[in-house]
């Protein structure tokens, strides 16, 4: 089991499965397990390795061990976290000065009081050689910071600067375990104990696996794949409409902040693991399961000689990506206000939507139901260069996804015009949905106006160019691309309005050619 957590309450302990017991025994046994089921909001937690580490272990235990140790050293375990200064994470830092020192007791002056009782956070004493210690408690009244006992008492003179690091990370982990872990897993691999109930349908979106550092619904330009803190905040506060991700609007702002930092911590941990695995990839067993040729020299080169260099490279790339995502320069901000949402604008948007010049309808369908013809093609896995076994679009996690059904009025990335503008402009990260930033901005606003009108006015026109009446779109409930006649017709070369030259003026609604005209082709 590669679950993101070790479960005390695993599938085998489900008492309902055992029908050989008498009812009385069942009840007793249920009672016996009650503390486990009810009281166990928490599990014996540990970060689990990427699935490929086990395969790596079979050929190079040195590489697997170095990888695991390195992650432990720089990220720790769920119960003994490490705040690694190389990463752009707000671990919760409070600066101060030592006023006096007696053994493990330091009287200190802090820039601000810790938000909660301090308990086992890191203390960095900025002596000539910085000393890493740990605080066991802090009394705000007496300003006494008590350090956990170590062999030697800290040799600090009054005036020594100090930093307390980690209260936010700690709070984030605690809250994450309470609110997020059930779906997203202890490791943030999207494989928490509840996740298996979600993965039973091919289109159900899975809980986000943070380990690629990729997030779909962001406000940054295309190419900036890491999420901004505000993007994560929006998702946590509002949930993702149309998915199992609920809204956590009732969390306090500082609780949200702490969770956001912990999610970023897990994402960066996963990204660094992934990058190190890429570095070590030549050591993986070959397709036939054998060790690679020149295993020994490869092992020395990759797992020993250049390993730390690869780690530093991974950390700097990850840090750069998350830092640049926060840069306001990289936000998608319209330079012109939204155009008036009138029929003329919607028609222009409609014409652009079905135009082969930009091909929205090829995925989203002529009627906007997310059933375009491209869904019938078999795509290639960009990592293995092998075809996926079934047709359809996939995201970066190789999960089958569906272009949004625009008739439903449900938009995962938000339903404000700005949100839709951002989806159109920057695309949806980690999916085939491209950014259309090269389409003129006014045209993008027309598309936004049209897209937002679909749930009200239907798609304006059906697949045959007939105008809908009063939003009477009886197909709107169907979410499944293969349930649709429109879908079938899309595959007939005969029935393709998009293959005729697209040179009509923008302000006339485009309609399909009459059947007879097409037959002449």
């Amino acid at each position: 089991m590669t679950s993101g957590s070790r479960l005390t309450c695993g599938p085998g302990s489900d008492p309902a499965e055992d029908n050989t017991l008498t009812t009385r025994h069942s009840i007793l046994r249920l009672l016996a397990l009650l503390p486990l089921v009810v009281g166990c909001a928490d599990y014996q937690a540990e970060f689990v390795n990427d699935e490929r580490v086990a395969a790596l272990e079979t050929t190079s235990s040195v590489a697997a061990t170095n990888l695991t140790n390195s992650l432990n050293t720089h990220f720790g375990t769920p119960n003994a976290l490490v705040a690694w200064g190389a990463l752009p994470i707000e671990f919760g830092e409070i600066s101060g000065t030592v006023l006096s020192a007696t053994g493990n007791s330091l009287r200190v002056s802090l820039e601000s009081d810790p938000p909660t009782a301090l308990n086992h956070v890191a203390v960095v004493l900025e002596t000539k050689t910085p000393q890493n210690r740990m605080a066991s408690s802090y009394d705000a009244d007496t300003r006494i910071l008590t350090l956990t006992e170590q062999e030697a008492a800290p040799a600090v003179t009054p005036g020594t600067p100090l930093r307390l690091i980690g209260h936010k990370l700690q709070a984030g982990r605690r809250l994450y375990m309470r609110h997020c872990m059930h779906c997203h897993g202890v490791t943030g691999d999207g494989n928490g104990p509840t996740a298996r109930y979600i993965r039973n349908h091919r289109f159900n979106p899975l809980p986000r696996d943070y380990r690629r550092g990729l997030f779909k619904f962001t406000s940054t330009k295309n190419g900036f794949y890491a999420a901004r803190r505000d993007d994560l905040r929006r998702t946590i506060k509002q949930g993702l409409a149309g998915t199992y991700m609920p809204s956590f609007l009732l969390l306090e702002p500082d609780e949200l902040d702490a969770i956001i930092e912990f999610v970023r911590f897990l994402a960066m941990r996963g990204e660094i693991e992934r990058r190190l695995l890429t570095h070590l990839a030549p050591l993986m067993p070959t397709d036939d399961g054998n060790p690679p040729r020149d295993l020994q020299s490869l092992e020395k080169e990759l797992a020993v000689d250049t390993f730390n260099e690869a780690l530093a490279d991974a950390a700097s790339l990850v840090a750069e990506n998350w830092t640049s995502a926060e840069d306001p320069e990289n936000l998608v901000i319209p330079t012109t206000a939204r155009l008036p949402d009138d029929e003329k604008s919607r028609l222009k948007g409609r014409n652009l939507f079905i135009s082969t010049k930009i091909n929205c309808a090829k995925c989203h369908g002529e009627g906007g139901r997310g059933n375009g013809g491209f869904l019938k093609d078999i795509q290639k896995n960009p990592e293995t260069q092998q075809n996926y076994p079934t047709p359809g679009l996939r995201d970066a996690w190789h999960k089958m996804i569906q272009p949004r059904n625009l008739t439903s009025g449900i938009y995962r990335g938000g339903r404000r015009p700005l949100d839709v503008y951002r989806r159109v402009t920057a695309g949806i990260k980690a999916t085939p949905m491209a950014g259309f930033a090269t389409v003129p901005e006014t045209d993008r606003w027309h598309i936004v106006n049209y897209v937002l009108s679909i749930p009200i006015d239907g798609a304006f026109f059906d697949e045959h160019g007939h105008q809908y009446h009063g939003g009477d779109d009886s197909h709107a409930d169907h979410d499944h691309p293969h349930d649709h006649e429109a879908d079938k017709s899309d595959d007939k070369p005969d029935d393709k309005p998009d293959d005729k030259p697209d040179d009509k003026p923008d302000d006339k609604p485009e309609t399909t050619q009459p059947k007879s005209a097409k037959d002449k082709k």
Binding site: L31, P78, W84, N359
Partner: protein, 283 residues
């Protein structure tokens, strides 16, 4: 029977008390400790004083296949594309370009490059002219290309149909931008980072469309021509380690040779001719 009940009841009590005693499971509900690890400012790459490499030389050669390559699969026969019919494969059939064997059994589109510029070698500036990455008939042109990481790539299209260009680099940021029909100005893309291996570039709208790019922070990389030949000029005159990479050599992460040692003489030339078996390409 009673003993069974008792045993279960005892288990219940024991488990319950365990739960009370340990806070149920202990582990995750206890406050985690946090220790601090300073970020290393720089990495010691073990380099001592670097001696400047004097002069340059040329490397040329040919990469060949032993045996007969299978006939490439026809992805879309002429005029039969299910969508964008009058654009995709309208003039010529779209064939699988992943293994192209030409005259004399030479293999095209093999990447030959140095992973890292040798220390002490002066690195010529990147060309100011952009590299052009085009598409015609729903096929990327060229199928394989090497660019400088700081160089602008202009993504163009000769097709009267929308495309998107979706890159999958290892170190640079991924790009997924729509390329509108007949885009002749070109959508600029700069990779910005040195890449360790070539990476796929796809069009999600036309599932067969795939190319490979390699972005280097130095000029010493190329691809083999249709007849399998290649030439790299201006290489630092020293012992170099070349990577020989091909998209079909998947079993080894694309490497036909990971460490091909070659010595480049100053103002002279060296030759590397290599032959590979069908099995090297998973055939």
């Amino acid at each position: 029977m009673t003993s069974v009940v008792r045993a279960i009841a005892a288990t219940a009590i024991a488990t319950a008390s365990l739960g009370l005693l340990t806070g149920c499971g202990g582990g995750a509900s206890a406050t985690p400790t946090v220790t601090y690890k300073a970020g290393d400012k720089s990495v010691d790459t073990g380099g001592g004083p670097v001696t400047q490499i004097d002069g340059t030389g040329t490397l040329s050669g040919t990469i060949r296949l032993v045996g007969t390559a299978p006939t490439p699969e026809v992805f879309v026969a002429k005029g039969t594309a299910k969508r964008d019919t009058n654009v995709c494969g309208a003039e010529v059939a779209i064939i699988d370009q992943s293994l192209q064997v030409g005259e004399g059994n030479g293999i095209a589109n093999v990447f030959i490059y140095i992973d890292k510029a040798p220390p002490g070698a002066p690195i010529p500036a990147a060309p100011t002219a952009p590299a052009v990455f085009d598409q015609k008939g729903c096929v990327f042109l060229p199928h394989a290309m090497v660019v400088r990481s700081s160089q602008t790539v202009l993504i163009k299209s000769q097709d009267n149909a929308g495309h998107n260009t979706h890159t999958y680099p290892g170190r640079s940021r991924s790009f997924n931008g729509a390329i509108k029909a007949l885009e002749r100005d070109g959508v600029p893309l700069i990779y910005n980072k040195h890449e360790r291996t070539p990476f796929p570039v796809k069009c999600d709208m036309h599932s067969w469309m795939q190319a490979f790019h390699l972005a280097l922070d130095h000029p010493w990389g190329t691809i083999t021509r249709a007849d399998g030949s290649f030439e790299l000029k201006g290489l630092p005159a020293t012992e170099l380690t070349l990577r020989v990479w091909h998209e079909k050599a998947g079993g080894r992460g694309g490497f036909l040779e990971r460490k091909l040692k070659v010595t480049i003489p100053k103002d002279g030339s060296a030759t590397v001719d290599k032959e590979f078996q069908l099995s090297d390409f998973g055939l």
